[in-house]
């Protein structure tokens, strides 16, 4: 878990001999103590992935030079794509909501209790009804209504707010609006959505109605990074709950709400822990 200051490096590159040795040597010879190390090789694509976290209390390279030195010594020679972050950083998250409150309330409950290492300066909704909740907690709330005609213009307002608040990533907490490709490309692998079905079953609108119609015996929820294709982005977390013929659509909706908020929270947790790499529209979620 580590309350000390630590550095985290996420790596992907073609698999080759000596990758782990190279990285762990770099850390060791500079006085770092590894807190956590996980690696994975995609056996089909021969792609190598790694997440390593180490204590930098006595590290010889100062934090602001670490990225450059790691690049020169390790990443460039070995052809690695690298993401570096520090446990001392507090990511800034915006929440997009519509009318339904259960995911937002769950997020705010965790936010207030300090469960997550995150700052939430901004909530955006296409409806005004959740404003009071946000402002009670001192979070800026903006109601930006959406229609097909105004989408382009309204998204500009959203983008300006995200920029103003230096938002690192966006959570769509049952935000029932299409997000444009332009917007998505600006926040690649940084928009987390919760879809109320066990994807790839029942993408799109009204999945509980479809689930009821099909007569499934289990329903699910799926959190994923948003890509331009609807409900087809890299899956971060999924969970399910059993149902039966005694559950009508209202029951599915009610049982599903509990899944949705928990599965969304798990995805946010992994994102905040810098545990996720995306490859070929799939995620590696280090533990």
């Amino acid at each position: 878990m580590g309350q000390q200051t630590s550095a985290i490096v996420l790596i992907s590159c073609k698999d080759q001999i000596g990758l782990v040795a190279a990285v762990t040597n770099f850390i060791h010879r500079n006085g770092g103590n590894i807190i956590d190390l996980e690696q994975h090789v995609d056996s089909q694509d021969h792609e190598f992935f790694m997440r390593v976290e180490w204590d930098i209390t006595n590290f010889k390279i100062p934090a602001h030079q670490l990225g450059e030195e790691f690049n020169l010594a390790i990443a460039q020679p070995l052809g690695m794509q690298v993401r570096l972050c520090f446990s001392s950083e507090k990511p800034r998250m915006a929440v997009f909501v519509s009318k339904m409150s259960h995911c937002l309330f769950d997020i705010l409950s965790r936010y207030q209790s300090g469960e997550w290492n995150v700052e939430i300066p901004l909530i955006i909704s296409n409806h005004p009804n959740l404003e009071k909740v946000a402002t009670t907690l001192g979070i800026e709330f903006h109601c930006i209504p959406m229609t097909r005609e105004t989408r382009q213009e309204q998204e500009k307002k959203q983008a300006a707010l995200l920029q103003k608040h230096q938002i690192d990533f966006v959570v769509l907490a049952r935000y029932m609006q299409i997000v444009s490709g332009d917007f998505i490309r600006q926040y690649q692998n940084r928009i987390i959505n919760i879809h109320h079905s066990f994807l790839p079953a029942f993408p799109g609108a009204k999945p509980y109605h479809s689930a009821h119609q099909r007569g499934v015996k289990i329903i699910g929820a799926t959190s994923h990074y948003v890509t331009e294709e609807l409900d087809a982005g890299p899956i971060i977390a999924q969970d399910v709950v059993p149902v039966s013929h005694t559950d009508d659509i209202e029951d599915l909706v009610r049982k599903g709400r509990d899944l949705e908020k928990i599965v969304l929270a798990r995805a946010i947790w992994h994102h905040l822990q810098n545990q996720i790499l995306v490859w070929n529209n799939r995620t590696i979620v280090f533990q």
Copy 2:
């Protein structure tokens, strides 16, 4: 659970006032003691479903007249569709397999230990490799190879064997062949298949490959009655198991096998307990 001799009636009809009272009165005034009663009303279609089981030890109507008397007194006046069976009956089941043995072995393990009230006189396969297992247990085994050209002819052989052995229902225990519409219509809601995915996700061939490609975090298995549309019949039971990026396709196949056999066994159990009604391509599974 009841070791005594009992009668079971499964009912479906338009919902109306007095249905439960009519049925339970019939049982009561003839000296029957209800062991189990479940009812369900489909709130969209206003269709009524019921399963009632009662001890017939001291029942005034003899078993061979029960069907007729229940029809005259209750079912016809109230427009019910009725299925009557007795706990003393031992259904006769045939198993269709291909090369993979895990579902068949699981079925035979339960058969031998007496877990199920069933007779299995017949196993049919399109491959010879599981013959020894069958014959060791004294079960007739027939290898009936299938090609697109010979299907019609070979299905006739299958049908003749089913008839000869007075088979009540058929279990496709990872039988990797298409079954013709003619065959299916003869055994409506009496052919149970196990599909190796969480339907409706990944119907058809190679679902584990598709699941891996999509990067799901949970895989499933689905048992259902076979209908003419592939993998689209009424679902009886489903279950799932979590997976992660560390699982390659082989791992999914291995983990999936355990799901498949358990989920198939659950469906067979419900079928044998006469707990299943089919309505609008969905199942009511009474407990």
Copy 3:
């Protein structure tokens, strides 16, 4: 689900012939339409349990006489214990909390969204820190600190508040205090607790520490009615989540919080739907 006005009767008595017929006849001949009926027989104790709900829109007996007439016609002759309630009633619930907020927030989120048919006029805590949350929602909040010495006196204050607010049942939402036998007897089967383990494993204090120490691979949460023996009351709902050696105690606590709030909410739901009967320190939870 039923938005219409309905009556619900919960019955327990010695099993005997004709019970279902007697009850359903009573309903039918007075013009009631059964919405839901479930019965259960304890096969060891030969005890009969039943829950029946019927539409009373056109019922010949007015609601205020229903209890008496049912007693005279059915319950007394057949030796039944009966609980009668109406879907139009809105139960009044009090929440007891300590410092931890996750269960309370979850309850309030459901309360505000209208998920439950309940009134929450009162929150009592032994700490002041959640006062603001309560008052924001217009719920009376009382901080009643507890020590071993003051328990008796302080419980009197609690009891007075419950009486003043006409509380029907109490939810201990991670209320980390012992409740006295006197108090429990006044609210028999009307105090719902959430315990943060898979009971009967790890009763008492610090179950996550014990779970970690034992090296379990799954942790759980248990909601139950409070009885005088600690963590030994009738279990209403349980759920679990997998853990591994990578989870330290903090991780168990974090993962457990999600279980606790969901499992507690399920118990409250069943209680509010009048689906629970208690027998021999076990629950029958009708669906």
Copy 4:
């Protein structure tokens, strides 16, 4: 997964700087390609654990010298406890059973299909009833009845058979007998038991009866290494299944059987993959 020949090293030692670097350097400079690496640090005890598997096709050190060289270069200087094995080795497993067949059948089904890299030369039972199954598959079967009086003498016969067949580890597949401390000490962390409850709930005899009595809403099964204290050894795997008031003890037993065989098989899988380390009566199960 790796079909190539690989070496696997399992390490435990006090945590210290440079452990991963030391091991991965050793592998790298001798021409090994890491297939899989996992490490874990117990944050309470500051103990370090690691499992690393590497392709030895072009490894400079021959397999028969690898243990010695690794010890001299790495393990001794760093104070490591080390277990070395090779993917080309096929462990030899004995199965102990009593009358119940479901776990044994499940094991044999996997054995015959080649799911596991294992040799099963020996089955020992205190009852004769499963002899035919064993001998059909060409496995030696010995019936060694047990009474309190004859235990010591009969265990000598068992031990002699294990030695004769060069057994590496023993699986108690619902073997309903106490195993003596002497026996256990000879096979430390090499005897896998399946207990039919969610330990630590319901240790000892008749756990399904106790579960029913307590009214739990979920039942479980637990596989663990056998230690001298009954049902208290290091847990390898657990799983659960929901139950309800409708399930009597027979139902629990039936549903539990499916859990037992699957959970036992998972433990055997992890053991065969050399994924398990034991520390302080807990397991680290690398994935």
